[in-house]
Structures are given as structure tokens and as C-alpha cells.
Symmetry: C2
Amino acid sequence: MPARHRAMATLATVAEAAGVSRQTVSNAINSPELLRPDTLERVQQAIAELGYTPNRAARNLRTRASHLVGLRLDPAVEGSASGLMDRFLHSLVESCKEAGLHVLLFTAEDVSDPLDGYDALLASAAVDAFVVTDTYRGNPQASWLEERQVPFVAFGRPWEDPQAPFPWVDVDGRAGVALAVDHLADRGHERIAWVGWQKTSYIGEDRRSGWVERMHERGLSTTRLSARGDDTIEFGRRAAHALLDSDQPTAFVCASDTVAMGALQALADRGSSPGPDGVAVVGFDDSVAAQVVPPGLTSVRQPLEEVAVQIVRLLEDRLAMRRSDEPHAILAPELRLRGTS
Amino acid sequence: MPARHRAMATLATVAEAAGVSRQTVSNAINSPELLRPDTLERVQQAIAELGYTPNRAARNLRTRASHLVGLRLDPAVEGSASGLMDRFLHSLVESCKEAGLHVLLFTAEDVSDPLDGYDALLASAAVDAFVVTDTYRGNPQASWLEERQVPFVAFGRPWEDPQAPFPWVDVDGRAGVALAVDHLADRGHERIAWVGWQKTSYIGEDRRSGWVERMHERGLSTTRLSARGDDTIEFGRRAAHALLDSDQPTAFVCASDTVAMGALQALADRGSSPGPDGVAVVGFDDSVAAQVVPPGLTSVRQPLEEVAVQIVRLLEDRLAMRRSDEPHAILAPELRLRGTS
DNA sequence: ACGCCAGATTGGAACGATCCAGAGAGAGGG
DNA sequence: CCCTCTCTCTGGATCGTTCCAATCTGGCGT
């Protein structure tokens, strides 16, 4: 174990100890197949004895690569239920490790500027690549980074331009909602309502289309069963009340757990409880809230672990200047069944 | 704006453009007060024109500092309500930025080994310092890092050894719970129960002591009003039922929101609802779940933003090899009032 | 006119790795 | 016996910055 106050071992130190040149030690680490077995053995032993680890800064300087991936962390909205970032981050860090990469976090000075922060890291060669996550509304980062030929992978589709050539990974929200509709319809529900986001949200409309399509596929009507608004508990509550007052749905499929929590509140307001006997509710995100709220909110779970794996795969291709055979991935979510349905 | 495919500007480039030496450009950036005003002006203009930004790797190599802070991300327990890491991480990244630092995430190969992962980053000089967060049960990292004279700051007290010299920041759980007790007692509750964690948890016992002390200070009895168990919803539920069956508390103060959610479920099981008219419940962590569960769970909120600020302050001291005048900070949480109390 | 001094600027060396071209050692062929 | 070729290994140059010591400049006192 190298102690910090003692001088760290360097290539030169190891080389001397093993009686070889610097370059040979370097090769022992980076291209061991170049060494004669006995030499390799000797060098490896010296490395072990001295506890040598290559100095990152020096390596980065020479190879012009930092093996760091930048991720901009934007403030999560307080009071929204998701907390997806936590799960995603874990998987991402894990997947990156497999690929010899590390995740470097940064934030913007100016949160409203989607480009802020990228430039500084790039110009100083602090990171090799980016993972871009905040693509919910358009995605100027993509074209900006593309222009500069910076390797990056997006979590989220380029909705405005589905043909955009950059690599991305996304979750099939539509399929997820269709899953929810199937589940409810299988259980005999016919009046299944949608409580979702504003029309301006690409993601919201994608999820909603899963509801519309699957409802029609199963011969169910969607008329007067749809509500759109903000991603807040309050909206979910009001929308659920309004729908219950007018067209008496027997189930709600929601664009998010946040909205779904609102629907649950509406049911509570009316003294009725969700679940098999009452009105069913299905959320989206499988947030912690969905897991802990009684009696458990059925919810569509995004495969974030797999998303991270795919992102890193594409990232590796880009970093190796390799053309990915499949630069886009749309992953299927699954339905987590709980008490509310 | 420097494009990636074009050669990046270097000190030499700028120096030539400004008609000065490399070192002068370096000084213009790091010690501008050394330059004559007109020279400084000229150099700065050249820097701006060429879009020059110092190369991190080269700087790191020369100065033996990376300005990176390592943070080990350990898997959050699914189904526990907190999600504190998300909030903390944001604040930490933000505070670090002010100090010219970045946060580098890593994970352990072997999660059960609290030291795993630190060594590799350290040996390769990838980070200058660490923020250690997983100190809930003992804290071998601290002594390990201390031994190696690695700068680090812990989020969490060294419970086993309060005199330990390393810098740390923590939240006063005891005071937070006392706040909750006061709040409930002020509202007329006298039979206030504790639902907390195992005796082996330092944090759990600290929080509990806030309940015990404040109850006694206010002349209230704690006899047969305490339950201890796992940090799960299920335990909270069972414990609440048991207490309600035997000694009829009118309020629950819980060691976590997770446990509190269990208590809420117990009330729901009995057809009674929490709040002013029924049994009050107070949680701990102010998790997203607390915010979204109807009618809103009153909860003790940790000042994570301030924790991050203090951690970075101590970190800066350590990195500057400066002795902090106050290397420990215990911050007071606050009570977030909601419908359950 | 000269020396002195502080302030401003410079050029070489160093940080620790990898790239690159070339040297040394054997093996094999003519 | 020499030449070539391959396999190993080596030493110098280099990445872009900062450290360090030395040099240069101009103002001031005598």
C-alpha cells in the first residue's frame, strides 16, 4: 500500500527495480503480449512490490484522454415523485466502471441554458464524452455537441428530428402505458381514463399514445376520458375529481407517479379506496412513492439499469471512433403490480 | 469557441499571439497581479481570441492536484423512502463548483467492503480528496484515509470515537426529533410513541434520545411507548399496530419516513386517518414520499444543502493544508409541517 | 553617469506517462 | 559465415502546464 507522504512509485522507479526500461514497464501494463513471459513476470512483481499505479494526469496528458464522462445534474423538482436520477446514476457509474470510465458531475451556472457547463469541461479536456439526460424538451445539446464532434450519448429521443444521427437510448413509454391498459382491461375495466401532461410534452404525448392506441385496439372508447395538465399532485387530484364527476371512469392510467398520487388523493377525498374493489390507478416511473404509499401504487418501471448499460455501450463505440451497428435503443419498461390495481 | 477537430490553443499558441512568453500567459491566468496592466490586457485579449482554456491534464500533472473529489455511491435500498442522496448530491456538486472542484463518482466492486474503491483512485492520483458518506455504522474509511493522510470530510459523526480528529459534518437528529416532540406536545398530545431502529444503530439511538429527553423535559412518560426494529414499512406497520393495541398512543414519532409510512398504513388498516382529529404521525427525512402521500407526512428535514456547504468548506481547508478552526459541524434540522400532525 | 533595487518577463527543467524510431539478440536460410 | 527477419527491449522526444532561477527593464538616489 503506497502511503501518501512517501514518494509515489513511478514508471522509472519500477523500471529500475525490475532492471528494465520505462517503456517496458509501460508495455507490461498496456500491452503485456509484447513482453517475454519471464520479463513480464519480473516487471509485474516489481509493480506489485512497489504498489505502482500509473499516474492518471500524466497518462491523460500524453494520450489526450481522461476516461471521464461528464453528466450534468439538473435540479430535481421538489415534490415530484420520481427520483429516477438516483437509480440511473448508480447504474451509470457501475456500467462506466466496467468500461474503465468514471462519471464526473457538473451543474450549470444558469440552469435555463441547456448548453451551459459543457463548454468549460470540453475546452479544458476534462472529460472525453458526455451523457445527456435532460432531453425532455427539445435537445440543443445534441446538435451543439455533434457540431463539435464531441462523443456523447443521449438518454431520450430526438423527438423533433427522429432521423438525427447521434446515438441515443430511450424507454418506450407508449409500450409501457399500453401494458398498463392491457392489465386493467384484462381485469375487466372498460372506462379507463388518461391523466397526463401538457400537449407540449413529447414524452407525455408518447405515453398517451400508448393509451389511445391500446384502448382502440381493444375496442374501448377514449372519448371524454382524457385529461392533460401539469406534472403535479394537485393537477392529478383535480383532474381525477373532474373525470369522476363527469364520466365515471373505473380506472386511471397516469403519465407519472406524481399525477397518480394526485388521483389517489382524489379517491381518498371521496372516501373511496383504490384497488380491486374500487377505482384502479396506475402510475409511471415506479418511484419510491409508488412503493411506499398504501396499498402500493401499480406503476410502469423504466429499465434504467439496462438504459445505462446501453448508453455505455454506445459511448464506448463513439470513444473508439467505431460506428455502432445500432446507435439507437428503445427499451421496454415493465409493469410493477401493486395494490391500486 | 474552439472546435474539436482544430488544434486546441495552448499556452505556447497564446504566447506567440500576444508576443510574450509562455510563463507570462500562465501568470496572466494564475497570478494576474504580477503583470503590467497593459501586458495583462494584451494577453487576455489573445486568450479570448483563441478561446484558450488551460489543459487540465497538464496542469494536474504539474501541480499534482486534480481538483476532483471522490464520492462513493452505494446502492440505495429499494423501497426505503429517503432518496436523500439525490438532494445531497446536487448541493455537493454545486458547492464544489464554487470551490473550483468537481465530483467524481465511483462504486465498490465489493459493496460490503467499506474501503473498496478508495485505494485505486488514490493511487492513481485521480482525486485529491474524498467525501465519505456511508458512516452509518462505524467508519473504517476514516481511519484508513487518515492514516494515509488523504484529505477527506465525512458526512456523519464518528460515533464510536467522538474525539476523532478528522473533519466531519452531521445533522443533529436528536434535536430534530425533539422538535417533533415539541410540536406534538404543543398540540396537546401526551402519549407520544417512538417507532425507531435497532439499538445497534447509532443514528437511531441518537434520534431516539431526542424523544426520550424532550418527553421527560415536558413531564411526559415514555414508558411502554417505544418500539425498535428494521427500517422497513412492514416493521413500522406492525409496531404501530402493537402500540395502538396496547398503550394507545395519540401520536407517533418515527426514526424515518419509511417507518412512518408503515405507521400510516397501520392507521389505514384500522380505518382511522392520521391528522389533527386522529393519531398524529411525524417522520424523519422529508423524503419525496412524505411530500406526496396524502395528507402529507410531517417530517424532520435535514439541511442537506448546508451540510454540503460545510463539507466543502472543511474540504477546502484540508486541501489548503489549513487547520480548520472548527473541524466539526452539527447542523440543526427543521420540521416540515403537513397533514399528519 | 553609475550602481542599486524592485518589478516584469523569460527560458530551461520538470511533472510521469506514451509514441516512435531504432538497437540488440537470436533464429533461420542461403 | 553472413545476411535477413522477427522478437524484445531501449532511449529520446513529447504532451501542456507550472516551478524556478536568472535576466532584463526602468526609476531613483548619489
